[in-house]
Amino acid sequence: MAGALTDPTRAPVAFGRRAVPQLFGELQRAGAAARLRALTSLCDLVHEPERLYQAVTGGFLKQLKVLFRDEDPSVRAKTCELLHLLTSHSIGRQAVLASSLLPPLCQLLDDSSFSCRRNVHRVLNRLALLPAGAEALLSLVPKLMLKLTKEEDEEVQLLLLSTLTHCSRLDALPGLASDGVSLLGRKLSHRSSNIRREAAAAMMALSVPMDGKRQVCEDAEVLPVLIGLLRDKDVEVQANAAGVIMSTVIITTGKQRCLDLDVLPVLLGLLSEKHGDDDKEEMKKRRKALIMYVLRALTSLAEAPNGRRLLLEQLPLVEKKAEAAEEDQDIRRATQTAIQVITWTP
């Protein structure tokens, strides 16, 4: 068979419908090296939706459970990679969730091999995109928080942070209970902008419930760092930081603290920032989020008397944004709301 001759790292693949069942059968029978080859071939096949469907509905997922406990770390890593590919489709995700593969998978989080752990994190990340998956992963959140403090590698940290963000969007309480705010606060000053972005996004998800907002205000270091992040170079980091501030200033303590830390000029500066290449679609889209968050933050700040006073002075700046020149509906609506609140009198 050509496969055996041309590529020694892959098992030969049967034709048509027999491909997937035969490879799974080989997984059961074969020795260690042959298992690795069969897994590699499976990973290649599963990119195609038809084969994925076959793999998922053929009831082969139980075999993967046995492979998790294999002695060879590369076999374990490959199995996780296979799972990662399976979860790229909705049926795959549902099947993984329904087949009780999660507990053995979570045990692999403490695996000795790095690539295995990384693949496990990838799988968890994909699973967290689905609401049912995020719900299933909620019980894991404390453990993931612990991992966040221990893991050094950037990619794994990124994956962890995004998984935590998705889980916290569903329900932020477990994350808050395991001291998420202070953990993420430390990550906010990381040197990599990806991590800063993800940490700020996670913080934004955590600050949605009241408890989170209070914690963000109480933690003395977080707010100044966030305001510092508003001046960051990366637009997404700025946007996420603005999002956190937006949710924090909803409560009165938040308003007071932010006004004390002199956040208004920064926000107004962000609003009126002009980019040389503003016509680029992508930049516009990214800035849209930033501008919307900033506007909402300003709206909330305007409910405080000092804030209102300061903003009344800057009203023309804000009104400019509400002009018809601004194409985006949402931004216009947001600016109008802001103006309404600023000019409200009791």
């Binding site: 990119h47 949605v208 949710s247 409560i251 909402r296």
Partner: protein
């Protein structure tokens, strides 16, 4: 044992085991019989088919056919026995009439004598000789010499020039097409998959941003509502407090006025009542009253009693002496 007359080495047909074997000597045949005696029982049911009485030889037109029934009739049995008896009787009769050598006369004995020209030793013991034969040990066979047939025929040469077998450029095209096509197809699929994922991600992100926004707005409005409600509650509570306080003050004032009015006439009334109850008294008077008067009265009582007693005595004893009343009685 049947032997032919000529040779010593012969085919021996052994009746006991009914096998046709070659025995070179008597010893070997005796050995054979010995082992047969030990295994005779097992071997008895093997029979040489040539010597089996049940096998019919020759033509079968007039042969006696064994009846199929296992049990022959009693009449048949009797007939067969009669036949046998008759055959024996006939044989015996024949033997009786065969001329035999007459018996030897008295004092004489018949002996066998050889009458040929040359006497021959007759004995049962067959003179046997053992002859052995053994091949020489084999020498290693030498390798066969390479057989090179003599050359025959004509020498012919040929040479393939370039371009005669096939044209590479033309032949390689379909192969190349397939290879390149498959590769590009695969990569297109992968790129499409990635694009799809990226699109989905972008859409998700846009949705998330909107959601966050709206969430923030909702929460802000919620907060505002809550604050307003709280403010209202506080104000209402404050008003209620104020009202309550005012009511309390009014009550206090009313109470004060009433008390003042009530207490105005209290003091003289009190004094009057006390005086009327006798709480204010002259101590000297009181003392005289409490201490002096009873004593006085007592004394008066005593005196009067004494006087009475005296009068009675006097009355009872009229002619008592008037001297009795000579005491210090200032009243008389």
């Amino acid at each position: 044992m049947q032997t032919s007359d000529h040779n010593c080495i012969s085919n021996v047909a052994c009746f006991s085991c009914q096998t046709l074997e070659q025995h070179g000597s008597l010893e070997s045949y005796c050995m054979h019989l010995n082992e047969l005696s030990s295994s005779c029982r097992t071997k008895r049911h093997y029979g040489n088919i040539m010597y089996d009485r049940r096998v019919v030889r020759g033509n079968t037109y007039a042969k006696h056919i064994i009846p199929t029934t296992a049990q022959p009739d009693p009449a048949e049995i009797r007939r067969q026995q009669a036949n046998r008896r008759r055959a024996i009787a006939r044989k015996q009769a024949r033997e009786q009439f065969r001329p035999n050598t007459p018996e030897a006369l008295e004092g004489r004995k018949h002996t066998d004598v050889q009458t040929e020209l040359y006497l021959e030793e007759l004995s049962n013991i067959i003179a046997t000789t053992d002859i052995e034969c053994q091949t020489d040990p084999f020498l290693d066979r030498p390798a066969t010499p390479l057989f090179i047939p003599a050359k025959s025929g004509k020498d012919v040469e040929t040479q393939i020039e370039e371009g005669e077998l096939f044209d590479f450029d033309v032949e390689v095209q379909p192969v190349l097409e397939v290879l390149v096509g498959k590769t590009i197809e695969q990569s297109l699929l992968e790129v499409m998959e990635e694009e799809e994922l990226a699109c989905l991600k972008a859409q998700q992100r846009a949705f998330e941003e909107l959601r966050n926004n709206e969430l923030a707005e909702v929460q802000r409005l919620q907060e505002m509502e809550r604050r307003h409600n709280e403010e209202k509650e506080r104000r209402i509570a404050q008003q209620r407090e104020v009202l309550r306080k005012e009511k309390e003050i009014a009550e206090k004032i009313a109470a004060r006025a009433y008390t003042q009015q009530y207490l105005a006439g209290l003091l003289p009334a009190v004094f009057t009542s006390l005086r009327s109850h006798g709480y204010f008294y002259n101590p000297v008077e009181k003392d005289i009253e409490t201490n002096f008067f009873p004593w006085l009265m007592d004394e008066v009582n005593n005196r009067v009693e004494r006087r009475c007693t005296a009068r009675e005595i006097l009355d009872s004893k009229r002619h008592c002496y008037f001297i009795l009343f000579v005491d210090d009685n200032p009243f008389f």
